[in-house]
């Protein structure tokens, strides 16, 4: 066995330059490689064969993907407690209540949205710049490169539960190593702003390697000839970085920025395990509140409405990212 499977994919799934994903356009492949097979394939096939291939997946897709999207919206229009027989229709009341900051649910919701916003705002830039720096350092041939890569990536494999326990211990205000070695006496898990520093720091530690390997893959897809041509033209290292590396990384960057915003805006485990939302729910993120509201207090109508508002914000953020990167290419 040589390397892993999808070596040839130039662009990540999100469709690098903002176009919808078009997998059929595969630069560098002989045209029609898929064509004749697809054509020839139909000859001896019963009409229902393709549907039989698709059926098991589509059954799952229908029940756990399509149905819940509609059902979730339906739920958000009701006062819905799974344990109560009566689930009265309330129209948009769940939404109007959330948009009223003086209501109980509205107040809690916007406090949680604020937490999600703060976390996203501070974690995303670090999770772009630091992994890019690490990827640039590792983008060369030298002894030990794969070992470094494996080490930086390891926490991501461990998962949020292990990482959360570990840092809860290291960040302990009384016996934690962090305070000891920094010579501080900070309550990282119960005090803001230190709790934000802790949550952002742990998240960077946890997922730096993930973004770094994606950037590294992107760097290695930039044709060597472009760098060589720039060198022949006498371009300095910095100029080559600006003129060759950054534009070459654009599709990967759009993808990483987008995926990181979504991941940060869905931050749950770190907050649950390290701060438990403390102090006074200030670090309780939106998804944390949605889960607690819907799946602990069983106020599923309100929780569904919250999740649709959060989803709308996330989709708006994605649109902004695609828009920002498209403008830059037009200049």
């Amino acid at each position: 066995m040589t390397g892993p499977a999808p070596r040839e994919e130039g662009a990540p799934p999100a469709g690098g330059d903002g176009r919808p994903v078009t997998v059929l356009e595969r630069p560098g492949r002989p045209s029609g490689a898929a064509g004749p097979a697809a054509g020839g394939a139909t000859r001896r096939m019963r009409w229902w064969t393709p549907y039989a291939f698709l059926a098991p997946y589509l059954a799952l897709f229908a029940v756990f993907m399509v149905l819940p999207i509609g059902f979730g919206f339906w739920t958000s229009l009701h006062e819905w407690d799974v344990n109560l027989p009566a689930k009265p229709f309330v129209g948009l009341e769940n939404y109007t209540e959330l948009f009223d900051p003086s209501s109980v649910d509205g107040g809690r919701f916007w406090l949680a949205m604020r937490a999600t916003g703060i976390f996203t705002l501070f974690s995303v830039p670090l999770l772009i710049v630091l992994p890019l720096l690490v990827a640039l350092l590792m983008n060369g041939r030298f002894r030990g490169r794969n070992l470094y890569r494996a080490v930086y990536f390891a926490p991501y494999v461990l998962g949020v539960a292990v990482v959360g326990f570990l840092w809860r211990f290291l960040l302990d205000g009384n016996i934690g190593l962090v305070n000891h070695y920094l010579g501080l006496d900070v309550q990282w898990t119960t005090d803001v702003p230190p709790a934000w520093v802790a949550l952002v720091g742990v998240t960077v530690w946890w997922t730096l390697g993930l973004n770094a390997v994606i950037f590294l893959a992107g760097l290695q897809d930039i044709p060597r000839e472009l760098h060589e041509a720039a060198m022949v033209d006498g371009a300095s290292a910095w100029r080559r970085f600006r003129a060759v590396t950054l534009p070459g990384l654009r599709p990967v960057t759009v993808f990483v920025v987008n995926a990181t915003i979504l991941a940060s805006a869905n931050m749950f485990g770190q907050s649950y395990l390290i701060t438990a939302g403390a102090p006074a729910d200030q670090t309780k993120t939106a998804i944390y509140l949605i889960a607690e509201t819907g799946l602990r207090q069983f106020d599923m109508g309100t929780a569904s409405a919250m999740s649709f508002i959060l989803a709308a914000c996330l989709m708006a953020a994605s649109a902004l990212v695609f828009g920002a990167f498209r403008d830059r290419s037009a200049r």
Partner: protein, 284 residues
């Protein structure tokens, strides 16, 4: 500065040394917390609560492991088995359902193919948070709450596996399939005898990624699994921490136990995991 001319040998050597210094410092920031986790798991209760850092446990003790493995509050072996069954079952379900679907979307021509593919891919852009509450209600209707199917099945509806495998199938040369067809194979035979063996690297990668994602999943299992005996490892330890917030020796022993399978998998298949993720951009 112009990097074009290599410059004297010693500057290059210096730069290389500096590179290794920086990378090694970063690596130390990654390894030392993990070392301290393992170290603490071999401390006594008192040792783990010491205010002075203690990198080598003194006294050395396996008490935390013995306590966590035998305590009635933390049936950790049951959690371990649950996680193993869930992650394996989930990864297998993803392969069994996604592979034929991806093959049909990559190679077969039929009415509705474009619409089905577009719909499936579009859900990659749906923020998963909107699925949380309704999928709980659906799982509840199926009477799966508090049982393993709840953490095995719903996530297999995600579009990632189909998308990932379809891309791979498109890169396979079509000639072998045509030859098999001339030999009289039907579609299913072509798929199982020709395509799947060729796709083994992609299938292994997808299996590993699905296994890891499921093993590490945290939010969904802590809300959908309730009784102590049905929890997965991260969910069980999550509850456990709430009850024993000061027992860091137990917590670190639990974390080590939860890490062992994924670390083992990672050591064996590190390259497949990293390249699979870096090329597909899976985001947990």
């Amino acid at each position: 500065m112009n990097l074009r001319s290599p410059g004297p040998r010693d500057t290059r050597g210096l730069r290389r040394a500096l590179l290794h210094l920086v990378l090694a410092l970063v690596a130390a920031l990654y390894l030392s917390p993990l070392v301290y986790m393992v170290s603490t798991s071999f401390k006594t209760r008192e040792g783990s609560g010491s205010t002075e850092p203690q990198w080598i446990p003194d006294p050395f003790s396996t008490g935390a492991y013995r306590e966590i493995l035998t305590s009635a509050d933390s049936p950790i072996l049951t959690w371990f088995a649950n996680s193993l069954i869930a992650a394996t079952g989930h990864a297998a379900l993803v392969l069994v359902t996604a592979a034929p679907a991806a093959y049909a979307l990559a190679r077969l021509r039929f009415r509705g193919r474009g619409a089905i593919f577009t719909t499936v891919v579009a859900t990659l852009f749906v923020p998963p948070v909107v699925l949380l509450i309704p999928n709980f209600l659906i799982v509840n209707e199926l009477a799966w709450v508090d049982s393993l199917p709840a953490v095995i099945v719903p996530a297999a509806a995600g579009a990632f596996g189909v998308f990932f495998l379809r891309q791979f199938f498109l890169t396979l040369p079509g000639e072998l399939e045509e030859a098999a067809e001339l030999d009289g194979c039907n579609r299913w035979q072509i798929f199982t005898a020709v395509v799947l063996p060729l796709a083994r690297p992609a299938l292994v990668t997808l299996f590993l990624l699905s296994f890891l994602t499921n093993w590490n999943d945290f939010l969904w299992p802590i809300y959908v699994l309730l009784s102590p005996d049905s929890l997965t490892l991260p969910a069980g330890l999550g509850n456990f921490q709430g009850a024993n917030s000061i027992r860091y020796d137990l917590l670190m022993a639990g974390a080590v136990i939860a890490s062992l399978p994924v670390i083992a998998l990672y050591l064996v298949a590190q390259r497949w995991v990293i390249e699979g993720i870096s090329r597909s951009g899976l985001k947990g």
